[in-house]
Amino acid sequence: MTQRNDEVEILLVEDTAADAELTIRALKKSCLVNNLVWVKDGAEALDFLFATGAYAERDTAQQPRVVLLDLRLPRISGVEVLRRLKNDERTRTIPVVVLTSSKEDVDIEECYRLGVNSYITKPVAFDEFVKVVGELGLYWLLLNKIPNE
């Protein structure tokens, strides 16, 4: 498996700095944060993924290997981001893992309907949190194969 240095492996979409830090720490514990980009809301995430706005210079051919998406986001919600990703040919194949505090059925159902790849409720207890994040990172980054473009 060859990797370029500038290749983004994980796009973390998370507005809460504490959660972002905990997530990054959890990923670090599993040594999975080589190329992680952290965006703080849905709009920024979309700019990044579709190379618009502040990320206009970005090469869209280089898409992250997984998107970790929070649902409660300012401006454009996580569900909306998910919808746009899954409705666009260019981004449809990017695995999206929803990381959320919500256990509400309506969110889970909506996300699966839109084609989310995983849906993870973030545990309150840190040990469990580290474990869950580590396991999903491992899965999506190291084990899962996506079709080559």
């Binding site: 959660d19 905990l22 409660r72 505090s101 309150v124 840190f126």
Partner: protein
């Protein structure tokens, strides 16, 4: 033909419409008696008259017959007398000429006798009564006639003339005869003897018999002394009767009165039969012809007539009687039919006249054929006014609703039945709503006979409907408002739970996470008390996370849609118990199942309910070396009762109200784990199933949580 009826008041009463039976019978009896009396009277008068007429006719006939006989007999006697006178002349001429020439006299007498068939002898006697000459006389035999009446009377009474003696049996001929005699004188003028003729009684009888006086009639010839000369019919005892005097007082009286003719009725006759007698004196002689006709006979015709008439009258009586009876019967039937008809009519009139609604019948030409009296109640106008002005019906329609009636008129042109609601203006100006319905009427022959209409005052209904409509509109508004409020509240609640879900957990996770990081990465700079405090922080954050989860689940229970189905409670309890026992492997738990019936409910909710109850039981029996949990139930009427009983620490009944409230606990925190939502959830689940839940407990003895669910639902279950 239909006659308009205005009101019940104008109609004749039923009882007046038929003559009473008693009056009819009385009239009929009177008529019957009168006609029969009349007939009897006429017939009786006629019979009486014909009776008298018959009597008269019989009398006249008898009179005529007696006249006829008297004349005949008088003729006979005259002729015989003429012969006697001739013989006297001859005898006296011969005597005067010197003496009797016997053979010549005999020839003369024989010649005279030959001319008179009614006599069988014409003879002469001498002064001593010795028969001297005549047919069959032997002068030498010297037959004497001196004792005979016809001789004696001539001898004793010179100048007597003709003597008609009473009948006697002649000596010479031995035949019954009436001797007639005349005396002749000798030339010296002295009595010389008699010439006599024997008038045959048979001849007389034949003469009498020639007259038909009927089978029981009789003709008699008598002399003035009532001696019988001849009789017809000839009785068997003629020998004893002839010449005898037979009493007949009526005749005697008549003769003594010197009358030549007369009539009487008498039973004093030879044979004792009552007869009507006509008497006629034989002209110039002391003889009387008596013609008697039997009353029975001459009245026979009348009696026949009377009998026939009586029979006719009887027949008439019978006929009138039968006719009367037939008429009476017929009348009875007619009367019954009339009464029945009248009753029917009254019934239909009652049906028509006593309607509460305003009803009418409009003829094919728009004329009013019937108007129920109730029209006055509804419209204020009387039936008579409607009948007089057919357009009144349409004039009272409210001007704003005239188009409704116009539309209805065009409807009924095409439909047999139609209806319309409109307003009318009453006579007093009040506006009322009318519900009008009408249908076409057809006669038995299918002929169109107009329309029958029903008008109901529906003002109250219309007003009530308007009120209801208004209330409904208000209610709908209110419901819409409330629904909107409720939806807003629900939305708020949803947002709230969503918010809790995200926003409360995120800081908690941060606290827990960073506390852990502190412990992991900065343990060296913290003393043991610092580490303990960080541990307390972590434990409580985890606890709060659980509280949030439970609260969210509790809130979700109220919103989740119900998904009903059969639930095998016993099976479910076993499953849950097994899971619970696995979670506390070091404890000794005993489950007692007392046949809890199956139920019909939301399986997920029921599972949550039973889980909460059983885990409570497991939880609160923790101090017991042997925990006994009993689950049972039974059907009670339309409810099913379940209970979960344990031998745990129980609770104080004074806190029972707090038991089912969210986050309320009856045991101190730390003694038993728990957030206080378990029983609140139980109550919510039971409530959503339409049941009731309650608890009983005593400190340190145990607790029983009971709940009921509607049995109706369970009944459905039994078939599944």
């Amino acid at each position: 033909m239909v006659t308009p009826t205005i009101s019940a008041k104008g109609r004749p009463r039923l009882a007046d419409r038929a003559i009473s039976s008693a009056a009819f019978v009385k009239w009929m009896q009177a008529g019957f008696a009168l006609i029969n009396l009349l007939v009897f009277g006429v017939v009786a008068a006629s019979l009486y008259e014909s009776h008298a007429e018959s009597q008269q006719r019989a009398e006249l006939t008898a009179q005529n017959l007696s006249d006829l006989l008297a004349q005949g007999i008088a003729g006979d006697i005259d002729r015989i007398d003429l012969a006697l006178l001739s013989a006297v002349d001859e005898v006296q001429r011969q005597l005067a000429a010197g003496g009797i020439d016997g053979p010549a006299l005999n020839a003369f007498l024989a010649r005279q006798q030959g001319r008179l068939p009614e006599i069988f002898s014409l003879r002469t006697t001498d002064a001593d009564g010795i028969i001297t000459h005549g047919t069959g006389v032997n002068p030498t035999a010297r037959h004497g006639n001196a004792d005979r009446e016809h001789f004696v009377r001539q001898r004793d009474n010179p100048g007597t003339g003709l003597v008609i003696a009473s009948p006697a049996l002649t000596r010479l001929d031995q035949r019954w005869a009436v001797p007639l005699s005349r005396a002749f004188d000798l030339p010296d003028g002295s009595f010389g003897g008699v010439v006599y003729a024997n008038l045959s009684l048979d001849h007389l009888a034949n003469t009498l018999a020639a007259i038909d006086v009927g089978r029981r009639g009789s003709t008699t010839l008598r002399d003035k002394d009532l001696r019988i000369f001849a009789l017809s019919p000839v009785p068997a005892n003629i020998d004893q009767v002839a010449g005898r005097k037979l009493a007949m007082p009526e005749l005697e009286a008549l003769i003594q009165a010197g009358r030549d003719a007369g009539s009487y009725i008498s039973a004093h006759t030879v044979d004792g039969v009552e007869r009507k007698f006509a008497v006629r004196r034989v002209a110039g002689f002391p003889l009387y012809v008596v013609v008697g006709r039997s009353t029975d006979e001459y009245m026979a015709q009348w009696r026949n007539q009377a009998t026939n008439t009586a029979a006719m009258v009887a027949l008439f009586f019978l006929t009138t009687l039968i006719s009367s009876w037939l008429i009476y019967r017929n009348w009875k039937h007619h009367q019954a039919a009339t009464l029945e008809l009248a009753r029917e009519e009254e019934k239909f009139h009652t049906v028509a006249d006593y309607t509460y609604d305003w009803e009418y019948w409009e003829g094919p030409g728009g004329e009013i054929l019937f108007m129920s009296p109730s029209c006055e109640r509804v419209t204020g106008y009387s039936p008579a006014e409607f009948l007089a002005q057919p357009d009144l019906l349409y004039r009272i329609i409210h001007p704003d609703d005239a188009h409704l009636m116009a539309g209805h008129r065009s409807d009924i042109a095409a439909q047999d039945e139609a209806g319309v609601d409109f307003r009318i203006v009453r006579r007093d100006g009040e506006v009322r709503w009318i519900g009008h319905g009408c249908r076409a009427v057809f006669g038995c022959d299918g002929k169109f006979m107009g329309r029958r209409a029903n008008n109901r005052d529906i003002t109250e209904r219309v007003q009530a409907e308007a009120t209801v409509r208004q209330l409904n509109a208000e209610l709908e508004q209110r419901v819409a408002r409330r629904t909107a409020e409720l939806e807003a509240a629900n939305k708020e609640l949803e947002d709230f739970s969503y918010s809790i879900s995200h926003d409360l957990r995120t800081p908690l996770r941060a606290i827990a996470g960073f506390a852990r990081i502190l412990v992991d990465e900065h343990a060296a700079t913290l003393d043991s008390e610092g580490l303990r405090l960080l541990d307390v922080v972590q434990v409580n954050t985890v606890r709060m996370g659980r509280l949030i989860d439970e609260l969210l689940e509790f809130l979700r229970l109220g919103r989740r849609p119900m998904n009903f189905g059969p639930v095998d409670v016993a099976q479910l309890v076993l499953e849950i118990f097994r899971e619970l026992r696995a979670s506390v492997p070091d404890r000794e738990l005993q489950l007692v199942l007392k046949n809890p019936p199956p139920l019909w409910g939301d399986r997920t909710m029921i599972r949550r309910l039973l889980t909460n109850l059983l885990s409570n039981a497991v939880k609160f029996t923790q101090p017991r070396p042997q925990a006994v949990i009993e689950v049972g139930g039974k059907i009670e009427g339309d409810q099913v009762l379940y209970y979960v009983k344990d031998n745990g620490v129980g609770f104080d009944m004074q806190y029972v109200d707090k038991l089912f409230q969210v986050f309320e606990r009856v045991h101190p925190v730390g003694q038993f784990e728990g957030s206080g939502t378990g029983l609140a959830m139980v109550r919510r689940i039971v409530g959503r199933h339409g049941g009731r839940v309650w608890a009983e407990g005593r400190g340190d003895v145990g607790a029983t949580i009971s709940f009921t669910l509607p049995a109706r639902e369970v009944a459905n279950d039994s078939t599944q």
